[in-house]
Symmetry: C2
Subunit: 387 residues, 2 copies
Amino acid sequence: MALSFQLEAEDSQTAARAGRFATAHGEVRTPAFMPVGTVGSVKTLTPDELAGAGTEILLSNTYHLWLRPGVETVRRMGGLHRFMGWGGPILTDSGGFQVMSLSPLRRVTDHGVEFRSHLDGSKLTLTPEEAIRIQDGLGSDIAMSFDELVEMPAPDDVVRAAVDRTLLWAGRGLAERERLRGEGRGAMALFGINQGGVSAAERARCFERLGALPFDGFALGGLWVGEGRSLGLEMVEHDCALFPKDRPRYLMGVGHPLDVVEAVARGVDLFDCVLPTRNARRGTVFISTGRLVVKNAAYAEDERPLDPECDCYTCERFTRAYLRHLFAARELLGMRLASIHAVHHLLSVVRRAREAVLAGRYEAFRREFVERYHSGETLAPRQPAGA
Amino acid sequence: MALSFQLEAEDSQTAARAGRFATAHGEVRTPAFMPVGTVGSVKTLTPDELAGAGTEILLSNTYHLWLRPGVETVRRMGGLHRFMGWGGPILTDSGGFQVMSLSPLRRVTDHGVEFRSHLDGSKLTLTPEEAIRIQDGLGSDIAMSFDELVEMPAPDDVVRAAVDRTLLWAGRGLAERERLRGEGRGAMALFGINQGGVSAAERARCFERLGALPFDGFALGGLWVGEGRSLGLEMVEHDCALFPKDRPRYLMGVGHPLDVVEAVARGVDLFDCVLPTRNARRGTVFISTGRLVVKNAAYAEDERPLDPECDCYTCERFTRAYLRHLFAARELLGMRLASIHAVHHLLSVVRRAREAVLAGRYEAFRREFVERYHSGETLAPRQPAGA
């Protein structure tokens, strides 16, 4: 197995767990959050800033890198780690989500997905085998199996068909990695993705076969796509109860601090999401006490940092007033400073979650975290004394 | 005098000089280059990155900050230094250039300039006195006198009238600073600006009176606005011969490495320019051997740094291939990394110029610098061995 996942502690009152796994590019402690380096860059940030914020693993998008600059270019430049200057672990997605969400025309068959590039309209085909070869070419530490997503809500038979195809493709992806290993490649770990939408029965049916396959970890797919938070968390609880304890569990595309804390309570180890950094670039950040829309004029003379409880570079050096000004003036530095806070904040959430599990007090941590988040304290703008 | 300029060395073969001056926020060694923090931020960069690149003094734009966020806001936030998190010296321009170049409608009288804000069209008036009050309110270390610019080419009588008005305003600006000092404010240094376009006679006539005023330094105004490089350098030589030796000389808006090196040879101490960073944000940077258009597809697999002779963060960590990719994918990190190099490069030019003056070999430095710049070496794209 390419990852040696080690379970370090299980919470007694919740399903929260703490663990760690090793990759060729270093160890990852879980629960972990992966900032998203879509096209080989976590927007506006350097690898050193990511490391400084406590990032232990990044996610990068196979589809984007495949189209531009292309796998061969990345490979000739020494692989994705060297290309983007990030020495730590990288997980790559399978490209399936972008093929579905970005391509205007697509045709799905058992063979794979035919679609048109969102960049130049050229006709391309992504198959489960190709998705594995691309991820291997990029030099990924953890690859994801190519799965079929369906847009929700969807009729039962569509969900069922997607589960069947996901299982078919899961097997073919594993076989392709074996073939690559025969050629001295394919050293990466490979995660399977459980599907079945919001049908507990379908998800269970999917995992009955998926769980029997020699994947190095399992992801919870097809959630947080509009089904609503409580139903999503219900599915998380359901899947985690089925997943084996000795492999990491990855909830894809989830990054709201409250969702992360609740999903950890249900047994999830790994997260990724563009939400915190995308919000940040638009002038909104999560802080300990809620959601701060710092671009609002009301903060024009608020001398406090974004989050008085945060020790990130931005919060230690700059005021809300300055960030508000940068957003009003459309200065890129505003996006950058807000992004630094955003990444730092999410990483501090998972770090504190981990510490709470190890200390045997996850339930108390969750309660305090949720309460503090909903308090809204420090969100109200403050005027300077002399105003 | 608010600045105690100390002349440290004069080159024997050229008019190049090395010096230093002290401000309330620290010392500046000359020749010096000031990165431009237009609206209170050197685009994409943090104050720490600027300091790391060797920045000793920044320029910020009075006009922009006056309009947004407003002087009172900056003042209430503790002044510009604290607002933007930069602890070193700041020079502010007078606002005159932006009033002329950005405002669609304007009327110039002896009183001042009536114009409309480029942001919301509101009607505003900037006078020589107001320009001083604004710069004082921002907390500037070095303020600039409000002058009248004329667009070139211009008839002689227009140039003459602008010189007369510049002189009138120079006296009123100094008087306003005196008035502020009577109130315990106005601690900043104040530079006068010499005008007269490309007429040596008018520039001499201007400086005859300007030079008699108690300014802390003098700027060469109205140059590098389309008159051509050789004529510009001729005017620089002419002005510097008139300027007193015991005060700093500032050539406004000049930042091409070759121009900086030539202007230093003619006796200039201080420069500012948006060109290096603006170019950088568009994918073009100055390197030791010329102008590198790194966004070009030809660099897609060039593993060398932007400038193999540079030791900036970008050059030490990233390849041209990666930067080219970031520009192709419109990633903000590309702008940032190129800007880091751009600032670092210009600062290394003035630092090396200073060292050459102190070592008594400026002429040799200039010759080598210009020769190396024109060599074009390392500009040609390189393909990887395996391609």
